[in-house]
């Protein structure tokens, strides 16, 4: 960068050099399968999703209602105290209009995805999810939304038991 350095090391390869085997190489596909234990807090959370409810944990020390629920408060560093149900409504904190799917492949109809802060939890505490029943022109930060649950028989105890969050019609309450 030194202006004193004349040669910068590195042999650049093209995609073809690699994919057409123009340089010697070894290929490997790991076959790693996992079963993650959901643990105490997440097991209850998933069970309640199957019941069509969102559940949080309270910390009596900092008075927060923690969502997603956890068995210890990371701030007070003590066990949390009680289970409490919160609403299935909330506010869009942020969102993205994604033209890429999970494998970075392009998709013609974009996915609406974002973070919803959930009513009844402490401020700004929420979860990531899809948005539906709205267009990419209609979605906006601050929009009020409500969980659209899958029918009971389709629920598996997963965040996907919520199909997406759709517009909340406040006056319909």
């Amino acid at each position: 960068m030194s202006e004193r350095i004349k040669k910068w090391p590195g042999v650049e390869l093209s995609a073809a050099d690699l994919n057409e085997g123009k340089v010697t190489q070894t290929r490997f596909r790991p076959n790693a399968k996992y079963a993650w234990s959901a643990g105490e807090a997440m097991s209850r959370f998933l069970a309640e999703l199957q019941n069509g409810r969102l559940i949080a944990r309270t910390c009596h020390s900092c008075k927060r209602i923690l969502f997603p629920p956890r068995m210890f408060c990371e701030s007070c560093f003590r066990p949390t105290d009680e289970w409490t149900f919160i609403q299935d409504t909330g506010t869009i904190e942020t969102f993205s209009i994604s033209y890429l799917d999970t494998d970075a492949k392009r998709i013609p109809d974009p996915i609406l995805v974002g973070v919803v802060s959930i009513d009844g939890a402490s401020p700004k505490m929420g979860m990531m999810h899809y948005f539906g029943d709205m267009t990419k022109e209609q979605i906006r930060i601050g929009m009020r939304v409500k969980a659209v649950w899958r029918p009971w028989e389709e629920r598996r105890g997963s965040v996907l038991d919520i199909r997406h969050f759709g517009p909340l019609k406040e006056d319909a309450k």
Binding site: M1, G10, L66, S98, L100, K124, L160
Partner: protein, 387 residues
Amino acid sequence: MRKVGVIGAGMTLFRRRLQETGKEMCFEATKMALDSAGLTRADIDMVVNGTAPDAFDGVHMKGEYLLDGCGGYRKPYTRVFTGGGTGVFSSIAGWWHVASGLADAVLVVNEEKMSSCQPHPQSVFAHIWDPILDRPLRPNLIWIFAMEMNRYMHVHGVKKEDIARVAVKNKRNAVGHPCAQLADPNITVDDVLNSEVMAWPVQRLDISPPSDGASAIVLASEDFIRRRKIKDRAWMSGVGWCIDSTMWTDRDLYFPEYVARAAQTAYKRAKISDPRRQIDFAEPYDPFDYKELHHLEGLLLARKGEAPILTREGVTERDGDLPVCPSGGLMGVGNPIAATMGQKIGELFWQLTNQAGKRQIPHEVHTGVAQAWGDLMQYGSVVVMSS
């Protein structure tokens, strides 16, 4: 604690694919850093390696795998890892080896070979998400940045044009960098705004590329520097690091609180009370163009929401009042995660010792700050360096 100086730096080309193995890249960068410090491997007491998840290179225990290329053979050797934050954090680990008095001369070597992962590192990025809360939604990594960018734009009413200016500045700055992967002297704001939408508001030219590359620095104690009569040195006057909650959906994404806390720690050590006045230039972490703005505010070099204005007014250009990413950053030089130490700590060293050549900031600079960011968007590492 003892004073610690950076006395040498080196890096490989940053490219989408390099033929060299990870160890060979490490060797090239390390050899260059040693040569520039006028030292040999025998002069080195301890070695620190920084490298991101094993799954990119596809080698488990990557630290162990890379050790001979890092010069670690039969020496005290440690790998450190704080996600993307490793780009600056590993130099902090090197700093504490010397500051504590345990070592006089230390090598810090960072590496990433992302081309091993096929067809794209995206497939393993999926595994940084929470397996129960996030992964069933089949998220794309870009989503999380898109959501953070959107929140930042929303809170401050930032326009995309002002964010695109960062991509333009950094890709142009990178023209003077011999290792740059994506330098472009002719890029315009319109090019960025018209590039393919990935996950709105993120477009293709808002993103730095995945890269192969390695970088290395040599650190030494004040005593060692005096004894060896080493002329080119820049002092690490302050270091700080901080991590926020792992529950990313519980944070307001508009402001990087963890960077601010890391910066405050570093500034206190460096006796900096007014960063905007006392810091001459900055190398914040810019894997996305908006991140430079976000981080400038976290580094307390701009008020909240002010970074886009400073950028629009040219303050952050290389010849501006506060040059930002004079290296060309990750946006222009490339993003081999941990190896971006080359554009961060390396650039501070080269600028402060007047070795930056075409990239040299035209006015005199005495103090710079480098920062990196990582884990699941909640880790900040900050280093202040002075001539």
